[in-house]
């Protein structure tokens, strides 16, 4: 059941945004900014791009997804719920002591999560391991790894990038959620990172690269298609995004990296998302 209509995918992304905001509101903590910036990418991955079946979350031949920026867990949980892996009703238990929805993704607690993440910089190595296994076993599944732009400051990402390239992992696609902000400020000011030089870096590490608008559903779909058609090398999609996308008072404001909404803010946020 793949959705190919752009409008439908946009609606999925909007519902993911509303659900993740609701979950964070009830949890009274969490990371809305980076969750909202990657919602369109996740909607396209789970409803259009990936070869998955919510009824068989452990199917050996399924495509894999690694959320290397694990703090965007609310977006992943909302996406998996939207896709039918589990009931949406449970999302509001996010971060509760009895909930399976940990602050960061736990593969042993939530169906559909392919890797436990949280400590930044480690997901690309893990995705490489999965992509190598796919090739070793001639299974043909693809591996997608979503990293943050701030996360690229971790050295292990570049150790892993060399490995992706050395093993010609053309079944691997890295997506950089390039919202240009990290907890304490701009990636440009903190470590000199911007979409353009991130693309140059991945290119020089041997990746097929493409800079896109990470909120344009069609561009995201085309970029994934281009990645699948690229043979002999891994792909890095540098998705220019807006941190806090869809909620006016959160957009481009690093203050909303890791903070929950109060009653009034929540009401306003849902209103705004409803009006998109």
């Amino acid at each position: 059941m793949k959705i190919t209509k752009v409008e439908a995918l946009s609606k999925n992304a909007n519902r993911i945004r509303q659900d993740l905001i609701t979950a964070i509101y009830y949890a009274k903590s969490g990371h809305p900014g980076g969750s909202l910036s990657c919602s369109d990418i996740l909607a396209v991955l789970y409803f259009n791009e990936m070869n998955i079946n919510p009824l068989k979350p452990d199917d050996k031949s399924r495509d894999r997804f690694v959320l290397s920026k694990g703090h965007s867990a609310p977006a992943l949980y909302a996406t998996l719920a939207e896709r039918g892996y589990f009931s949406k009703d449970d999302l509001i238990t996010l971060r509760n002591i009895d909930s399976v929805f940990q602050g960061h993704p736990d593969m042993n607690k939530v169906p559909g999560i392919d890797m436990t993440t949280g400590s930044l910089g480690q997901g690309l190595s893990v995705a490489n391991g999965m992509a190598i296994a796919s090739k070793m076993d001639k299974m043909g599944y693809r591996v997608y790894c979503l990293v943050g732009d701030g996360e690229l400051e971790e050295g292990q990402i570049w150790e892993a990038a060399m490995t992706s390239s050395k093993f010609n992992l053309d079944n691997l696609c890295v997506i950089v959620d390039c919202n240009e902000l990290q907890l304490i400020g701009k990636t440009e000011e903190i470590k000199g990172l911007n979409a353009e030089n991130i693309e140059q870096k991945f290119k020089s590490f041997g990746f097929n690269t493409k800079v896109i608008d990470g909120h344009n559903i069609e561009e995201i779909m085309q970029a994934f298609e281009n990645a699948t058609l690229t043979k002999g090398k891994p792909t890095a999609i540098i998705a220019k995004t807006v941190k806090g996308k869809g909620i006016s008072f959160m957009e481009n404001n690093p203050e909303w990296h890791g903070k929950a909404l109060n009653d009034e803010e929540y009401k306003k946020a849902i209103e705004e998302l409803n009006n998109i």
Binding site: M115, S125, V126, G129, M136, G155, E159, M162
Partner: protein, 315 residues
């Protein structure tokens, strides 16, 4: 004890090469000729993954392979296999309980000439402090080969601690080894020496020498430090008056500490801990360093004699 001398890293290299499971893969970070995984590489080039000098990446890659049903053996020097990548092991292997075997060769001061930066004395401490992690530290060729087979069968993360220094072969080929079950060598009741890895052979030498003077000790080869064999520790504490641990590791957090944890809760009794006394190592010949840091057979012997003298059992 036979005369044959072989380092456990070499036994490890031979053992992984003999593993039958087709899901076994071996990862290396530019040290295969030293960790002896080059044997596996030669015979199984398609199942050997060279990541270069990037240990963090190696651990993450191993984790990814494990999620897809592979049984990765990720090998490098103990100092890089644990300390350098502690967080990678913690988040990507121990917490998700992935089936990765982390194999650290060149553990302890017996690395020798390379000196302090390469002599890992804190790895047992780091690894046994991680939930879900099993810590295995074999002492000879036979035990290493048997335990490599056991850990390959065991489903979950394991840290395997191996040595560079050549040590004698202790066990006959038909001895059975089980993860978590320590091995008692001798029935002596004058003292128990708990040893692991390279210090087991030293403890056995001390046992032989002491017997000449009428002192009969037992040696316990604690090849699994986690889960530790509580039953064996309590039994020895009940049966022998002197308890001693000896390890090529910092006295903080290693074998001695693991035994002391059991004694404190189950059978409070004094334990003398021989090991590296909370300092870094130094360059030198392995055997000279064992003497210098007092974890050799002579030091074990003298510690026991001194204790017996105080207890008036030796005149």
């Amino acid at each position: 004890m036979e005369e044959k001398m072989i380092a456990t890293r070499e036994s490890f290299g031979n053992a992984i090469n003999e593993l039958k499971d087709e899901n076994i893969v071996v990862l290396d970070a530019d040290l295969s000729s030293a960790t002896k995984t080059d044997l596996f590489q030669k015979e199984n080039p398609d199942k050997f993954i060279e990541v270069g000098i990037s240990e963090a990446d190696m651990i993450g890659t191993a984790a990814g392979l494990a999620t897809c049903g592979k049984i990765p053996f990720a090998s490098t020097f103990a100092v890089f296999a644990t300390g350098r990548v502690y967080d990678q092991i913690r988040s990507s292997i121990a917490y998700p309980k992935l089936n990765v075997k982390i194999c650290g060769t060149h553990a302890g001061i017996t690395v020798g000439e390379d000196g302090a930066t390469h002599q890992m004395l804190e790895d047992i401490n780091l690894m046994r402090g991680l939930p879900n992690m099993v810590v295995v530290s074999p002492s000879d060729d036979v035990e290493t080969k048997a335990l490599v087979k056991e850990i390959a069968k065991y489903q979950g993360p394991v840290y395997l601690r191996l040595a560079r220094m050549e040590t004698p072969v202790i066990y006959a080929n038909d001895v059975k080894f089980e993860i978590g079950k320590a091995i008692q060598l001798g029935e002596g009741i004058d003292a128990t020496v708990f040893a692991t890895g390279v210090t087991v052979a030293e403890a056995l030498k001390a046992q032989e020498e002491l017997l000449k003077e009428g002192v009969d000790i037992r040696v316990v080869d604690v090849h699994t430090i986690k889960p530790i064999d509580k039953e064996m520790i309590v039994k020895c504490a009940k049966q022998t008056s002197i308890l001693l641990s000896v390890e090529d590791h910092n006295v903080i957090g290693g074998l001695g500490s693991a035994i002391a944890d059991v004694l404190a809760e189950e059978y409070p009794k004094k334990l003398i801990k021989l090991g590296i006394n909370d300092c870094f190592g130094k360059s030198g010949k392995a055997m000279d360093l064992m003497k210098y840091f007092k974890i050799d057979s002579k030091s074990i012997e003298e510690t026991i004699k001194e204790k017996l003298y105080i207890n008036n059992k030796l005149k």
